[in-house]
């Protein structure tokens, strides 16, 4: 069972570059989430989606964009990378929020 798959696992970006973090799930979950994890700060919600074609901002959306063209995929886009975006990014999916969320293995991003 694949569950939630994130690619890449590691990436180094230069300031001003752009990239897309990929997230795919095969559990037919409607809800998907992107978080960033910084030391001592826990997980901060960046964006979330309750179904294909629907996205909404979380706690820290600035500097990021998302799309949800299919139920399976929820890519996160960084347009102009900044050092403040150095973090570990987690994607998760679930049925409605009262149920268990399943997480990907994370993407460690460094912006230099």
């Amino acid at each position: 069972n694949a569950g939630v798959t994130q690619t890449p696992k590691f990436r180094i970006l230069k300031i001003g570059q752009s990239m897309t973090l990929q997230c795919a799930q095969d559990m037919n979950h409607n809800y998907m989430y992107w978080y960033r994890q910084d030391p001592g700060m826990g997980l901060k919600l960046i964006y979330y989606s309750v179904g294909a074609g629907i996205t909404d901002k979380g706690e820290v959306p600035n500097g990021y964009n998302v799309s949800r063209s299919t139920t399976e995929d929820f890519p996160l886009r960084l347009e102009l990378a900044a050092p403040s975006q150095t973090s570990v990014y987690f994607c998760a999916s679930s049925k409605p929020t009262g149920t268990e969320a399943f997480f990907g293995q994370g993407t460690r991003l460094t912006v230099v």
Binding site: Y31, Y33, Y35, G40, M41, G42, L43, K44, L45, Y48, V50, D56, G58, E59, F90, A92, S94, P96, T97, G98, E100, A101, F103, G104, Q105, G106
Partner: protein, 108 residues
């Protein structure tokens, strides 16, 4: 606003000692609360949720709406319990918000 507070960044205990990881929340609607755990080099995974009212790996958590708390407890800690623990809050806003996490260290 939907908010989760975990006041302790680090909790260190010896094997066999009781453990309580604190979680307080702020939410105007009907809360759905969870504890997630992240073991070293592993993904976050669900430990338990308040609606299930079950004990997982010896851990329990009771939702106290009066005190807006959902503390995680275990009577006798084990070394394998060492991990990062996150309290999370969901509800009818569709967001799933996490606290800052508490690192539990259990010494032999």
């Amino acid at each position: 606003a939907q908010r989760v507070t975990q006041p302790e960044k680090l909790l260190s205990v010896f094997k066999g000692a009781p453990v309580e990881l604190k979680c307080n929340y702020s939410y105007s609607g009907s809360p759905e609360l969870f504890w997630y755990v992240q073991y070293s080099r592993q993904r976050l995974q669900l430990l338990l949720r308040h609606i299930s009212r079950e004990s997982i790996k010896g851990f329990t958590a009771d939702l106290n709406k009066g005190e807006t708390s959902f503390h995680l407890k275990k009577p006798f800690a084990q070394e394998e319990d060492s991990a990062m623990y996150y309290c999370a809050l969901g509800g009818n806003t569709d967001k799933l918000i996490f606290g800052t996490g508490t690192r539990l260290q259990v010494f032999p």
